[in-house]
């Protein structure tokens, strides 16, 4: 039995014509002798009637001040994939190919108990195999599974897998079924050297390693999710990214043993960041560690994602997603940090050059206690992280010089940098995003990469 798992993203199942094109790809695989197993995302992207965001809003609109329970949120957003799977299965049936829709739990996907960001702990694919044996095409809801607390409990709790969940479902089912291939279908030809919105001529990479694709996704490109890449890599399942709408051969994700990689793989960007730089130069030297500790403790407590961390003896800084900035502002602006010591100093965090009402109120209340030391915090809104991804190049002398001089020479302000074994990132003003991506793409001749 040659099994091929074919995962279709939101745009591939959004409209009847797109679903028909996707269905014909499944039928074509069957005619080539494969037993196809389909995984589908919810119908359409943000704003579409049955897209995940739309379903979430149905709950949130009831009263924006009352956050829905995570359990109920999961049940609600899982509806998008259920509808999509049923419609896709019926589309196949109308084309003369019997198919069966499966919820994540019915497909045997078991997860841990974290609503909204569950991880797959195991898959029992028996129901999918029975379906294949009966010459049916299983169509599985992506992005969901069930959590069973105690063996024998009825049903199990529905959970969703978080970001990239449908890719993860596709790769995990491929691993469970020991598939010949997992194909991720989307609306682009494969993994590109840059976002085509920024660089129209960005070519499609024919091969890319699991590590590279995971890093590209980590740094903002909307390709295969790192979780899916890791599962496919660990189980040795060939993974492809292809377009539903063209006959381009797509991108094959391979191991480093079979493909040594290239000097520079691509340029990515992840937008909508806010950068905060806490000035500790006026804090007593012995207090700085405690102040930093309190700031990071607060960020951890509120589950804030940090980018571009920067620690120096006189300051500390990081970028946060704009979507999380209201939480950050709410907990840090006006934060009072009393330090016990002989002098009993009190510190007050002030975000931005002008004190907010909260800061003014806190300062007024604290004035009777003696000196209040401000921690001025420089706020830079509207930032983007632009990253050069590659493995071979990052260890060479001069790479930072190349990247910085290219951006500075192109009149792009670089606010901060960050790097790892696979990438070099620069924080730049959001308005310069496309220009920064294009400058780096041209400098490293990525249009010539294949």
């Amino acid at each position: 039995m040659k099994i091929k798992v074919m995962k279709f993203g939101g745009t591939s199942v959004a409209k009847p014509e797109a679903r028909m094109t996707s269905a014909m790809r499944v039928i074509s695989a069957k005619e080539q002798g494969y037993s196809p197993v389909v995984v589908v995302s919810a119908i359409g992207r943000k704003g579409a009637p049955y897209a995940t965001d739309t379903l979430l809003n149905l709950l949130r609109e009831i009263d924006p001040n009352v956050e829905p329970d995570p359990r109920e949120l999961d049940m609600m957003i899982a509806c998008g994939e259920i509808m999509s799977a049923v419609i896709f299965a019926h589309t196949l049936k109308t084309l003369g190919h019997p198919a069966q829709a499966f919820r994540g739990g019915q497909a045997g996907i078991r997860t841990d108990g974290v609503y909204g960001n569950a991880r797959i702990v195991g898959i029992n694919p028996i129901s999918l195999l029975r379906s294949i044996e009966q010459d049916k095409i299983p169509v599985v809801c992506g992005f969901q599974g069930v959590f069973v607390l105690n063996e024998g409990d009825p049903g199990g709790e529905l959970t969703t897998l978080g970001r990239g969940g449908s890719d993860t479902t596709g790769a995990a089912i491929g691993a469970a079924l020991q598939a010949d291939a997992v194909e991720i279908y989307t609306d682009v030809d494969g993994v590109k050297t840059a976002d085509p919105d920024a660089v129209k001529e960005a070519p499609t990479l024919r091969k890319v390693t699991y590590d590279e694709v995971a890093e590209i996704a980590h740094l903002g490109a909307k390709v295969v999710h790192p979780r899916a890449a890791e599962i496919a890599m660990n189980y040795g399942i060939p993974l492809w990214v292809k377009s539903t709408f063209t006959d381009d051969e797509g991108t094959e994700i391979v191991t480093r043993e079979t493909f040594p990689g290239r000097r520079v793989t691509g340029v990515t960007h992840t937008g909508k960041l806010v950068y905060l730089q806490f000035d500790l130069i006026h804090a007593a030297e012995g207090d700085r560690a405690m102040l930093e500790s309190r700031i990071y403790e607060t960020m951890a407590k509120y589950g804030i994602s940090l980018f571009m961390l920067n620690l120096s003896p006189s300051s500390t800084g990081f970028a946060v997603p704009r979507s999380q900035y209201p939480i950050v502002e709410g907990v840090l602006d006006g934060l009072v940090i009393p330090l016990s010591g002989e002098e009993k100093r009190v510190y007050l965090v002030q975000i931005g050059s002008k004190p907010s009402r909260v800061v003014e109120t806190q300062a007024s209340l604290l004035s009777s206690l003696g000196e209040v030391c401000r921690i001025p915090t420089l706020l830079t809104e509207g930032c983007t992280m632009v990253s050069l991804v590659g493995h071979e190049y990052m260890q060479q002398p001069g790479v930072f010089l190349d990247v910085l001089s290219t951006l500075v020479g192109g009149q792009v302000t670089v606010l901060q940098t960050s790097d790892s074994d696979y990438s070099l990132s620069c924080l730049v003003p959001e308005a310069d995003t496309n220009r920064a991506v294009k400058l780096l793409h041209d400098r490293f001749k990525l249009a010539e990469v294949s």
């Binding site: 039995m1 841990d112 108990g113 974290v114 991880r119 797959i120 702990v121 195991g122 898959i123 029992n124 694919p125 195999l129 959590f147 607390l149 709790e157 978080g162 970001r163 995990a172 691993a175 469970a176 079924l177 995971a214 890093e215 996704a217 980590h218 979780r227 890791e230 599962i231 930093e292 500790s293 990071y296 403790e297 960020m299 951890a300 407590k301 509120y302 589950g303 804030i304 994602s305 940090l306 961390l309 920067n310 620690l311 120096s312 300051s315 260890q395 002398p397 001069g398 930072f400 010089l401 910085l404 500075v408 670089v414 606010l415 901060q416 940098t417 960050s418 790097d419 790892s420 074994d421």
Partner: protein, 163 residues
């Protein structure tokens, strides 16, 4: 193989820290008090370093300069390269990188902040930080690297979640 395959398979690594590794052999360079046109001066210094054939990591921009990491054996060379910068630079040897592996680290909200907090709250000065899709890299003094590795293993390896 398959049809009777009711056996379940472990798929994803558990959330949280899965492994901690320490790499030794680095030195940290700080350049400060650049008076004017800081970015031009940074580029000039990076050019000198590149021409000397020295590979750098963990470049961070500071308001009046920058800092970065170099392989420890090249530390003595750096003194010569940066001599034209006057006395506004320091090279601190005996630095190590603590690599903390946690799959899909960016989606585990608060985990990165939690690691930094763990280090600082325990008196460990973190000089630099970087991250990848599956790991975080923290530069600390060699003498504190093993302590930090143990602390993170002990405090941030998250047990299986049960609702």
């Amino acid at each position: 193989m398959l049809i009777n395959g009711s056996a379940e398979t472990e798929f994803e690594k558990r959330r949280g820290v899965s492994r901690v590794e320490v790499r030794h052999g680095f030195a940290q360079v700080h350049i400060s008090r650049i008076p004017n046109d800081v970015m031009t001066e940074r580029l000039r210094i990076l050019d000198l370093v590149a021409k000397a054939g020295i590979s750098i990591d963990f470049l961070k921009l500071t308001p009046s300069g920058m800092s970065f990491l170099i392989p420890e054996p090249t530390a003595h060379q750096m003194d010569l390269v940066l001599e034209p910068c006057g006395d506004h630079f320091t090279v601190r040897e005996e630095r190590s990188i603590v690599l903390v592996y946690a799959v899909n680290i960016r989606d585990e909200e608060g985990l990165i902040a939690g690691m930094v907090h763990t280090a600082i709250a325990n008196g460990i000065r973190v000089d630099h930080i970087g991250d990848m899709h599956d790991r975080m890299l923290m530069v600390v003094k060699k003498s504190e690297a093993e302590k930090l590795a143990t602390l993170i293993k002990d405090t941030l390896t998250v047990p299986e979640v049960v609702s």
